[in-house]
């Protein structure tokens, strides 16, 4: 796929999401409450899609979008009243557009079912807009009558457009003819000419170099931004000037006319041709500032992060050497470098950060559809959409969230009758929240449903031999059993969830992201699932310790405090593996013993008190080396079974230290 086509797909995706979100918004309120801004949003999305497709000459998409846009336009202009049925249809339009775009981009044809669907939707759209016979696929007509009708004379503006492709334009493989054709769809192109004076004769011609200039008169009712937008995909490859020659009949030649020359930042000084100059009209130049954003291949950012990681390591080495040589100046320089590297790192990481909002909004559709299928009414409330998270994390969290939400809708929220019987509001409520909390991001899914029936879960778990019948479990431990593989509690296996898979996958996915998941519930009042995710996956602040001859990194955020293991403690332990820490029991784990590391005799031992979830434990190590910016590297497939080591990192001297996965380690020893 070419880069342009990739961009196209991303753009289309964005527009489809906007449409879908808006439609979901609309379906959540009563049809009368739908305001014009929502309709406008739909219209703009559809319109942009049509435009983009036009630029690539995807005629089928254009004509499909056009019909939908038409209807929206009529609704927008209050010529037609929006109905529930129409909303449903637009959801279908949304889904089908996706199909149509996929198929078109793959250069394939709609299959029979899809074609039936296509023509069916077109027929319905046309029926709504009162057009009668729809243009079924295979039509090639560019303009619809209705459009001609709507082209109210006094809204039309005239432009003179000059397009000068850059020398290398042809190599970009972009089709400017498709853009001109598209302009022809949304307006009228006249006097299209090729300025050929710069073209050399065939003996001197470099066939791949562009010598042309195109110019045309253009009339349309679109704002000038729309015309500029049509050139979005080629803007780097052409110099473009668009001159507004306002030809409103009643205002022609009057002083109040303020036509504008729009020059996208890439354009050369507008070079109006004689055609335009011939018009005795005042012109004023203005610049349209466009919000400039960059789409970068994420691998490029990853590469940068890797490089910075290497620099952090190299700098750690410098610091170490400076420290050994007692070279104060070098230490200071390295210090400066450290803080600058930190800034660069944060900056680059920031590029990867995206707001969770857009991915959250997609979930509304899922909640809505699931609820509808189950005949439930649910109010879905999202908050914290602007919380930022690493893009790769956002992508990977989407599936688990879908699972969790489906579960809440299906198992959490009770049927309407039941809710009424229990004196609850008949409409259930699910909250999806995101917020930052101490170096991580928390995502919560909370419902006001039935809560998790402890006894049923426990019985099921015992039946499936997940826990022994004699085990004494806390409430929390029982709730967390829902994440165990092979546990289904839905009394009837529904179409939606409750097949005994799902929540274990959720847990696994989240653990892959180095996150944790926890569930809490009150019977009759609802449940809450809390997911805690690290801000980023590549670098953590670690604490370097040593046990025997092996060095370990403990993530700093897990560490509560460090204390010395005194001989007094030792003797008080009396072979127990815990100590009394300020009045409460602190279970201990000797890392050296546990991992069978060659023992070296040390004068003193230290206890690192780690805190993971609700568990507190003390890890006995020998040496404390201090904080260390830890670049996490995977240990690789050979070590994949060791779950309590999450990776390795390279120390300043080139040695490797192992990163302890504290939650996994604790879950193993408890």
């Amino acid at each position: 796929m070419t880069e342009e086509l990739q961009l196209f797909c991303e753009d289309m995706d964005e527009q489809l999401s906007i449409m879908e979100d808006t439609l979901m918004d609309m379906s959540e309120i009563s049809i009368e409450a739908v305001d014009s801004e929502m309709i406008n949003k739909l219209f703009r999305a559809m319109h942009t899609m049509k435009g983009n497709a036009g630029m690539f000459g995807f005629d089928d998409v254009v004509s499909f979008a056009h019909v939908a846009e038409n209807l929206l336009d009529q609704v927008r202009n209050k010529k037609i009243v929006l109905t529930q049925a129409m909303l449903e249809l637009f959801l279908l339009v949304n889904d089908h557009s996706r199909t149509l775009i996929d198929v078109t981009v793959q250069d394939e044809q709609l299959d029979d079912d899809q074609l039936t669907c296509h023509n069916d939707i077109l027929a319905q759209l046309s029926a709504f807009s009162g057009l009668g016979k729809p243009d079924v696929l295979d039509l090639k007509s560019d303009k619809k009558e209705s459009e001609a009708e709507e082209a109210v004379v006094d809204k039309i503006s005239s432009y003179h457009i000059t397009i000068k492709p850059k020398d290398s334009f042809f190599k970009s493989d972009m089709d400017i003819m498709a853009i001109i054709k598209y302009l022809g769809v949304i307006g009228d192109v006249t006097n299209l000419t090729i300025e050929d004076s710069d073209i050399p004769d065939i003996k001197q011609l470099e066939p791949l170099k562009s010598y042309l200039t195109l110019s045309m008169q253009y009339q349309c009712e679109e704002p000038i931004d729309e015309i500029v937008a049509a050139f979005e995909f080629v803007k780097d490859d052409i110099d473009l000037s668009i001159i507004n020659i306002n030809e409103k009949i009643e205002t022609e030649n009057t002083e109040s006319v303020e036509p504008a020359v729009v020059e996208p930042s890439i354009a050369e000084k507008a070079k109006p041709t004689s055609n335009a100059l011939a018009k005795p009209i005042k012109k004023k130049e203005t610049r349209v500032e466009k919000n400039f954003s960059l789409r970068v291949d994420s691998s490029k950012v990853d590469q940068l992060i890797n490089l910075i990681s290497e620099m952090v390591i190299a700098n750690a080495k410098i610091t170490q050497i400076a420290d050994m040589d007692d070279n104060i100046e070098l230490l200071e320089a390295a210090d400066t470098l450290t803080s600058m590297l930190e800034e660069i790192r944060t900056g680059v990481m920031d590029i990867r950060m995206v707001q969770v909002g857009s991915s959250f909004n997609k979930l509304r559709r899922i909640v809505n559809d699931t609820a509808k299928k189950l005949g439930k009414q649910i109010e879905f409330v999202i908050s914290g959409e602007d919380t930022e998270l690493d893009k790769s994390v956002v992508e990977k969290i989407s599936d688990p969230l879908v699972h969790m939400l489906r579960n809440s809708v299906d198992h959490g929220i009770e049927s309407m009758e039941k809710r009424i019987a229990n004196g609850k509001k008949e409409k259930g409520r699910i909250d999806l929240r995101a917020y930052p909390d101490a170096g991580s991001i928390v995502i919560e899914v909370e419902d006001d449903g039935a809560g998790i029936p402890k006894e049923i879960i426990l019985a099921q778990a015992i039946k499936n031999k997940l826990v022994s019948p004699t085990a004494q479990l806390t409430d929390k431990e029982i709730y967390n059993l829902i994440f165990a593989a092979g546990l289904s509690t839905a009394e009837s296996v529904s179409d939606v969830s409750g097949r005994g898979v799902g929540m274990d996958v959720v847990k696994r996915n989240i653990e892959e992201l180095k996150g944790t998941v926890d569930v809490d519930s009150t019977l009759g009042q609802g449940s809450k699932i809390t997911v805690c995710l690290p801000l980023t996956l590549a670098i953590i602040d670690g604490f370097l310790v040593q046990s025997g001859d092996t060095k370990f990194i403990i993530p700093l955020e897990m560490i509560q405090e460090c204390i010395e293991l005194t001989s007094e403690n030792r003797s008080n332990m009396k072979n127990n593996e815990f100590i009394n820490l300020r009045g409460s029991i602190l279970p201990l784990l000797d890392i050296g013993d546990y991992f069978d590391i060659n023992r070296v005799d040390y004068e003193r031992e230290n206890i690192i008190i780690v805190n993971s979830g609700n568990q507190i434990a003390g890890l006995i190590v020998h040496e404390l080396h201090g904080e260390f910016q830890t670049v996490i590297k995977p240990l690789g497939e050979v070590f994949e079974k060791i779950s309590w080591i999450s990776g390795g990192t390279i120390l300043g001297n080139g040695e490797v230290a192992l990163i302890l996965d504290v939650p996994m380690l604790l879950s193993h020893i408890v």
């Binding site: 069978d596 240990l635 050979v638 070590f639 079974k641 390795g648 390279i650 020893i669």
Partner: protein, 169 residues
């Protein structure tokens, strides 16, 4: 076309020969990425004896395998000549890098196809399982290692023993 063929068959005939515990072994040269001096290896707890640990090769963490332990002979001693050979190993559709410890580099040489023979059913010093075939080199038979089995990820990744039971007493 024919020239290309020749070249690639030449490469296929090339072997990397090394010494481990006074025996000479061969690995097809195509499987060798590079050879580096022995360096610090970080032991990873709870792995089998033949997994020596991980080491840092230009910023990447690479698993190191003790060949002699893998063959069940003994733990490799470290000498001045001890080296790490970084090998490529296909694992599903990924190419992994894994290092093995050898006593000494011996030679890189061509061994023509007619000097390659199948492994006898018994009589080889190491298990036939690890041997791809036998190569006749300077009138001596040396074992060409089957990297796919020597570095079988499934076997390498087995944990030495489940230890979680020990610490509650």
């Amino acid at each position: 076309m024919s020239k290309q063929n020749n070249e690639s068959s030449n490469e296929k005939n090339q072997y990397f020969l090394f010494v481990a515990n006074k025996d000479i072994y061969a690995i097809t040269a195509l499987e060798v990425i590079e050879i580096v001096e022995y360096q610090n290896i970080t032991k990873v707890p709870m792995m089998s004896d033949f997994v020596s640990g991980v080491t840092n090769i230009r910023g990447n963490l690479i698993a190191v395998i003790d060949l002699l332990q893998r063959f069940g002979i003994k733990q490799t001693q470290i000498y001045d000549t001890t080296s790490l050979v970084i090998l490529r190993k296909r694992h599903f559709n990924k190419e992994l890098q894994i290092a093995v410890i050898i006593d000494q580099v011996y030679e890189v040489d061509d061994i023509s196809a007619e000097n390659i023979e199948s492994t006898p059913d018994f009589g080889t010093r190491i298990d036939k399982y690890f041997i791809k075939n036998m190569a006749k080199y300077n009138d001596e038979y040396i074992a060409v290692l089957d990297i796919d089995t020597v570095l079988d990820i499934k076997e390498l990744s087995i944990l030495a023993k489940e230890k979680s039971s020990k610490d509650k007493g």
